[in-house]
Amino acid sequence: MAKSAKEDLLQIIASKRDELRLPGYWENLAENCHSWAGELSAGPFWRRAESDLSQWRTEYLNATGAILLGSSELPPFASKSRAGIQDKICRNWKRIPEFHDRLFSPSGPPIPNLSDLVRTRLTCPYIDGVQFLANKVESLAKECGVLISRIPQGNLQGYFAQHIGIRQSVFFRLAGHATAAEIECEIQIATTLATRMWDASHPVYETTREEEIDSHDWQWDPNNPRFISNQLGHMLHLADGLLVQLRASLRKQSKS
């Protein structure tokens, strides 16, 4: 296998925790994340959300006349792959100097401090459903004592979603030993259009986000894939808003 710049950088990052030099560390971390995703999906918080979902659906339907979620049930949590974890760590390491010190806690198991080692995405047909569902999930997380944060995401690149961070108690398994730890998991809530946009534009984002890109490089270049994907992200956000307005005016009309 050819040695890459990423591997060189990972060697530098390994100075933060000795365990990163252990043969199999990254593979084992990814396997642990996979187990945690399964545990969280079957755990009390997500089961409770699942059982409250029908009530949330009814409440939203009564208020708007629309369906809350595209799927019949809540999706399970998924874990980041080994390459996905390494890429995100390398990217943040290069971009954010403060990240160097907060990537690993000096004690406890060697789990990188990333908010989305385990994550799931809820897709709502309407943009006000995103807000509604984020409120419900946030309240439930607060009630269960697992809420870390709620961040409404919206950026120049046209990415729009609500991210809710929750904490999960886990065991980090290495060489037959299990050490208790706490990780942050991410629940992303977005519209169907925004999710489609994300799925379609992700390859563009993946290939270019390694470099620091000045917005002037793409904002005036209609042939740049970022021009299309970023502007389309904003257009679809606008379309999501217009859909809600249209739905509301039609509902008003049918009532009168």
């Binding site: 030099r21 593979e27 037959g176």
Partner: protein, 147 residues
């Protein structure tokens, strides 16, 4: 020691039949029969695992990625190895202040002249096991290979 005998030593990690099945294609395409096998051991959640095997013949190195999906293996000219790099260290697994286990580790890099390619092998185990693994490796791929 025959290949068969060397593979039998790996039955702690893989049933022999499964191992033979996995090695069928790499052995079939190898232009000459291998004389030696070197396993690359890593730590996993439940203990040690063999993720890769290096089959060594007179002129070829064949790296078999046992756990990869899809199953993968490749061949490279043994004569392209021009540097032999060793890293030996120990790692202590602790629970709080209590030491649960001490592992003796090794990482060996065979650096090729082609495009910065590196054949990387690792080992995790006791000191005696590591000595045995290193001895097997040196026997299979003497340092003089780089000359």
């Amino acid at each position: 020691m025959t290949i068969e005998t060397q593979l039998e030593k790996l039955t702690t990690f893989f049933p022999l039949d499964r191992l033979k099945e996995l090695l069928k294609a790499p052995l079939h395409f190898m232009p000459e029969p291998p004389n030696n096998v070197v396993p690359s051991l890593e730590l996993a959640g439940d203990g040690r695992v063999v993720r890769r095997l290096i089959l060594i013949s007179e002129r070829y190195l064949c790296e078999v990625h046992l756990g990869a999906s899809p199953f993968a293996f490749d061949y490279i000219d043994k004569a392209t190895v021009k540097s032999y790099r060793f890293r030996l260290w120990t790692h202590e697994i602790k629970e709080g202040e209590t030491s649960k286990q001490v592992y003796h580790l090794a990482q060996v890099d065979w650096v090729h002249t082609h495009f910065g390619y590196v054949t990387q092998l690792s080992f995790v185990g006791s000191l005696e096991e590591r000595d045995e693994w290193l001895a097997n490796m040196i026997r299979s791929m003497p340092v003089t290979t780089i000359l």
